[in-house]
Symmetry: C2
Subunit: 331 residues, 2 copies
DNA sequence: CACAGTCTTGCAACCGATTGCAAAAAGCCG
DNA sequence: CGGCTTTTTGCAATCGGTTGCAAGACTGTG
């Protein structure tokens, strides 16, 4: 059915090796030969079978892209960037959805069956046991948007969550709020803990400022709304730093339902700066993750590890920027 | 590095064929042999290399998933469903992002290089030349969320866009609006044309109802906002059927900026029912696409075509449902 | 023109699997 | 136990490529 190297060889009246060589970077072929082969290949519509090739070269150019963030709109942007970035380097993403609770063993087996050249784990909520399992199996791994793990033997590209917490607290205090709080995502995730810790740490430097913190069960609109409902009933703080933008929007909806207004009654600052945050019906003040740079660095690292698998693991943290919109009181 | 069939054969003291057979469905192996091989395989942590296998079986279980909708949040849900659905059938999605304007030739070559077993095109905005190019190359193709093409030789799973237009018009008229309009996405896309045609057709049955229509350049928040700004300046209709939910939200933002209110001053009905539409700050009345059923049917069809490549192309259209929320005046 | 040195080419083995075929083993029956 | 059928097994070819090696074709030089 498909046209093979042999078909081309026959038509060009040369050996299969010659055909192979004209299609391999840096192989030794004369100009005359190359012309002849290329002509035949063009006429037959030949293009080499990368899977067969991978058998001997041990390169599939397949990259596993693992995530379980299929409800946070930010990740649509992330997937967009990843797929394009990988494509630009002739790498192919094999998407793996961990939502339905596959275990590391199972997904690792999958990657081995398809001999992926590397794995990108892209989520803040996946326990580091996944990246580590892939790493232990000898696969190049980069964890993007994840926390710094304790054992630092997996590449990590991310933001400095603790520092984001500090930035949020500092901004709120600068704005004159004296009672501020952190409303995080799932308590057990590391990024949430870091964001919380940074927030409390910075606030602690201001003795007059009262702080508190609580957690929503998931990074979802409904969870944010429910948690804020609870907080409102219990007597809310003046301003909240929410674990991410989706939570922020949920929280704002609760505030409005309660007949209060943002920012007049309660201030909100989020984290992510997903596209929706900029919609002027939302107009959320938030801390922007530089997702473009994170994705770019991740792909760069994976490519580098494909060259040199023994490369020392490193972690790159990118600075975040506060995007002031309309959900905090002025000045 | 990786453990191969030979390693297992040596350890179990049997021939490689025997190992292969214990790992292939329906091959003839005695119980004793199977036990022996499985033990050795387990001890070595062997799992078969699917790419090598594909050379002889002509099956990669790889499915190309092509899209260019990386800004519509609905598609995050769609990707979630697709990746899980494919995974459940032991198929692997290779994601291809057509945003940056790759041509059909280029993506086709990619699919051939990786010998994908089928291609799912999932977008409403991609010209049908793509699906047809894949089809002409002999690949099983299903186009999901696309329009019915003129030449019906590609499987299509979708909604009946024309009928959605009718439903929207009928609902608006039932609600008592007498001046209604369609505000679509890109004029040149087929789905937009169908939605518009159905809308106008149903409205035309009511001589007292005035209609009009216009188009935003893209299915985006900003485009919806800009177009509605223009309409407001020119003198708006009483209610709008917008090409999709994102456009609707953009339009609503323009209306609010102009100091008008939804639904008191202007009614809005969207199409998609993406998650955000249900957020109670948005609370959008909309026509729901049954994305779960569409995805399920698409996967089913691709799987069926893998069995029987000559299967007659068919198109499955699923009925949509109106979800009444708060952006139309009550009954 | 002979000769050494460099390029190009084809042969054959190999990558990790599957599978048709025939030989060997096992099962069945009288 | 012998003879027959049915199962199980291994051999070797194959899938579509790549690559080390040695032979053949060039090139430049004296």
């Amino acid at each position: 059915m498909a046209v093979t190297i042999k078909d081309v060889a026959v038509r060009a009246n040369v050996s299969p090796s010659a055909v192979s060589r004209t299609f391999t970077e840096g192989a030794s072929v004369s100009d005359r030969m190359r012309k002849k082969v290329e002509k035949a290949a063009r006429e037959l519509g030949y293009s080499p079978n990368l899977l067969a090739r991978s058998l001997t070269t041990r390169r599939t150019l397949l990259i596993g892209l693992v995530s379980n963030n299929f409800s946070n709109p930010l990740f649509l942007q992330v997937f967009d960037l990843f797929t394009r970035g990988l494509q630009d380097r002739d790498l192919r993403p094999m998407l793996v959805n961990l939502t339905s609770g596959i275990d590391p063993e199972r997904s690792l087996e999958m990657f081995r069956q398809y001999s992926v050249d590397g794995v990108i784990v892209t989520t803040s909520e996946l326990p580091s046991v996944f990246s580590e399992a892939f790493h232990d199996a000898g696969l190049p791994v980069v964890h993007a948007f994840g926390p710094l793990t304790g054992t630092q033997d997996v590449h990590t590209v991310s933001i400095d969550d603790r520092n984001c917490g500090r930035m949020a607290a500092d901004l709120l205090i600068r704005k004159g709020y004296t009672s501020i709080a952190f409303m995080g995502g799932p308590k057990e995730t590391t990024v949430t803990q870091y964001r919380c810790a940074g927030f409390l740490e910075a606030a602690a430097r201001h003795p007059k400022v009262r702080t508190s913190h609580s957690f929503a069960g998931t990074h979802s609109y409904q969870a944010g709304r429910a948690e804020m409902m609870r907080l409102l009933a219990a007597g809310p703080a003046q301003a909240y730093f929410c674990g991410d933008d989706v939570l922020s929007i949920g929280a704002m909806s609760a505030i409005q339902s309660a007949g209060l207004r943002v920012p007049e009654d309660i201030g909100i600052i989020g984290l992510d700066d997903m596209e929706i945050a900029g919609w002027d019906t939302v107009n959320l003040t938030t801390i922007q993750q530089p997702i473009g740079r994170i994705v770019e660095a991740t792909i760069e690292l994976i490519a580098a590890m494909m060259e040199d698998p023994n490369r020392e693991p490193e972690s790159r943290l990118f600075p975040c920027k506060i995007i002031e919109r309309g959900t905090l009181r002025p000045g």
